[in-house]
């Protein structure tokens, strides 16, 4: 009976605690939690793509960055008095706004860009790969090159991207002052709501025939092909969904962190996104959320207290998880229950 209560009750208890968090935590701690929840949205996409689809993306930072930069560009423009240029453009000596910046002044365009751009870019890229049956290690390596090229491009085009420092110094979003505590709480609840929606959506997708087929194509690609299925569109859609969630995650993260920069989208952060999921359990949406938040807290704590130690620990974590705990924490829980 207690066991049943614990199993059934725990998720609801956690949700209740998460809902109440703004009243229990300091503004700083709440902001931290909100960032980690935003990251967890990206992790949900990797559960679908990597855990169930068997497709490892080492380039999720690209889609995270597309979402983040889209909302950041909007906020940079919205904060400006009409006709003037964002601060970093002035510093680098630009005299006019680049044409592709202009539409981001519209909130509707920026929102659409956050929701559509990463998903479409992801689907397009994935299609070019899966239609030629490029998968496995090759696919992973090419996505890593994608993250590298994106970050390098951002750094080198300082006058239009903010360069190494990225975009920062936002005042308001859609007219709400970000410094206002109420706005901070609202954004936290929004992030929580989107995380819950993502969780429910991914669980439903995994429980549907789509999830079964995706897993079957991972385990028996040729058998599925010769049962009449073409894996390419399924994989493209899975990648597109993961890219969509990464873009959403990037936009929310940018709102909470108040900055988006190449250091958050390149090769290193992209592969760290994978380890967040691996720790919690690549097959389990709940595990991925838990793992993401736990590792993010650990990083925050250890890397501020013992910065040199953190990279050794992170390296050891990468090795330990795949060799000792391939199912992640969720796999461990499942084993103990069984």
């Amino acid at each position: 009976m207690v066991e049943l209560m614990r199993r059934r009750g725990l998720p609801w208890l956690l949700l209740l605690a998460a809902l109440a968090a703004p009243f229990l935590m300091s503004g700083y701690d709440l902001n931290l939690l909100a960032r980690f929840m935003a990251m967890a949205i990206l992790s949900l996409g990797l559960v679908l793509l990597w855990g169930h689809g068997g497709i490892l993306s080492l380039g999720q930072g690209l889609f995270f960055g597309l979402g983040g930069y889209a909302i950041a560009m909007h906020m940079k423009l919205a904060d400006l008095p009409g006709g003037s240029l964002p601060d970093f453009m002035v510093w680098t000596g630009r005299t006019a706004l680049p044409g592709w910046w202009a539409p981001f002044a519209s909130p509707a365009f920026a929102l659409l860009a956050v929701l559509l751009l990463p998903a479409l870019a992801g689907a397009l890229f994935a299609w070019s790969m899966v239609r030629r049956r490029i998968g496995g290690t090759y696919f992973a390596i090419i996505t890593q090159a994608l993250a590298l090229a994106f970050a390098t491009f951002l750094i080198s085009r300082q006058e239009v991207t903010g360069g190494f420092n990225g975009l920062t110094g936002f005042q308001s979003l859609f007219g709400w002052q970000l410094a206002d505590q109420k706005v901070g709480r609202g954004l936290y609840w929004l992030t929580l709501a989107l995380l819950c929606l993502g969780f429910i959506g991914i669980r439903a997708l995994l429980a549907s025939r789509f999830g079964t087929l995706l897993g079957a194509m991972r385990d028996g690609e040729n058998r599925m092909r010769f049962l009449g299925y073409d894996p390419a569109p399924y994989r493209m859609v899975a990648f597109g969904i993961a890219a969509f969630l990464a873009g959403l995650s990037g936009a929310l993260f940018t709102l909470h962190a108040g900055v988006i920069s190449p250091a958050m989208v390149g090769v290193v952060p992209s592969i760290e996104m994978v380890i967040l999921v691996a720790v919690g359990g690549r097959m389990s949406p709940a595990g991925a959320i838990f793992g993401t938040i736990a590792v993010c807290y650990a990083r925050d704590f250890i890397s501020s207290s013992f910065p040199d130690l953190w990279l050794y620990l992170l390296g050891a974590l990468f090795i330990a998880v795949v060799t000792l705990l391939p199912g992640g924490l969720a796999g461990l829980v499942r084993q103990r229950r069984a």
Binding site: A207, R209, T212, L213, D219, G220, F226, G228, D230
Partner: protein
């Protein structure tokens, strides 16, 4: 034994497969009628599996054509060939170990394989009917919810035959369906194939002569990628040329 054009289902027409100098198939031709069962035999390296590979589009021939109901399918994508009505059972059972027996059959039984149609759960009435019928046919109805990975080797072979049947294919390619089976299981498999063959065309590859005899079908003998002989099993046994290249080498 020629078949009238109207009854012709499959025509392999002068197909050559060249693995950088080594010809796995060398101008090979074969026709198969509707509801005809054919057994293809030949010594190792005769090109039997490559023939299957060509028909299902896994290997593209460098010369020749493959026609299904008169339509050229030589360059069609694999999934389109299955859609046109050909499905193959591989030598090593390729069942999906992590799914139940019923789930394996359900995947095969789906006619509409477009991704957005997969967003729902459950099976349509027609699919349920197919799955139930196939389960009865392959005699695994009692193991419906068992994970396919936990089946015995023989059961896996039957399940994969069932999956191929569940696609609704008009032509079944069965590549060594009795590989790894004992005599009792082999006989059951032969009986299963004879039942299935009543309403479809079946192309069987095997070299277990007792099994081939039990199937009681026409036999095509291949040798070094080429056609060697065709006839009943008795004729095959009596033919000196066949004895030399095939049966002789088995002794």
């Amino acid at each position: 034994m020629t078949t009238a054009t109207a009854d012709l289902l499959l025509a392999v027409d002068g197909v050559t497969v060249d693995y950088s100098g080594f010809k796995a198939l060398d101008g090979f031709s074969l026709t198969l009628g509707r509801r005809e069962t054919r057994v293809v035999i030949g010594p190792n390296g005769a090109g039997k599996s490559t023939l299957c590979d060509c028909i299902i589009g896994r290997v593209r021939p460098s010369a020749g054509r493959i026609l299904l109901r008169g339509e050229d399918i030589t360059q069609k994508p694999e999934h389109a060939i299955v859609g046109a009505g050909i499905c193959r059972k591989f030598q090593a059972p390729g069942v999906l170990a992590a799914l139940s027996v019923a789930q394996n059959l359900a995947l095969a039984a789906r006619r509409d394989r477009r991704w957005w149609k997969a967003l729902g759960t459950g099976m349509s009435a027609a699919e349920q009917e197919t799955v139930a019928a196939v389960l009865a046919e392959i005699d695994l109805a009692g193991r419906r919810e068992v994970l396919a990975g936990t089946l015995s080797h023989g059961e896996k072979q039957w399940l994969e035959i069932g999956m191929v049947v569940a696609t609704g294919a008009e032509l079944l390619l069965l590549d060594e369906p009795t590989a790894g089976m004992g005599p009792a299981e082999t006989s059951r498999t032969a009986a299963l194939i004879r039942r299935l063959a009543q309403s479809r065309s079946v192309l069987v590859i095997d070299h277990d002569m007792r099994f081939v005899e039990e199937l009681g079908a026409q036999v095509t003998v291949m040798h070094q990628g080429r056609f060697l002989f065709q006839g009943g099993i008795a004729d095959v046994r009596a033919d000196a040329q066949v004895a030399q290249v095939y049966l002789g080498s088995h002794r």
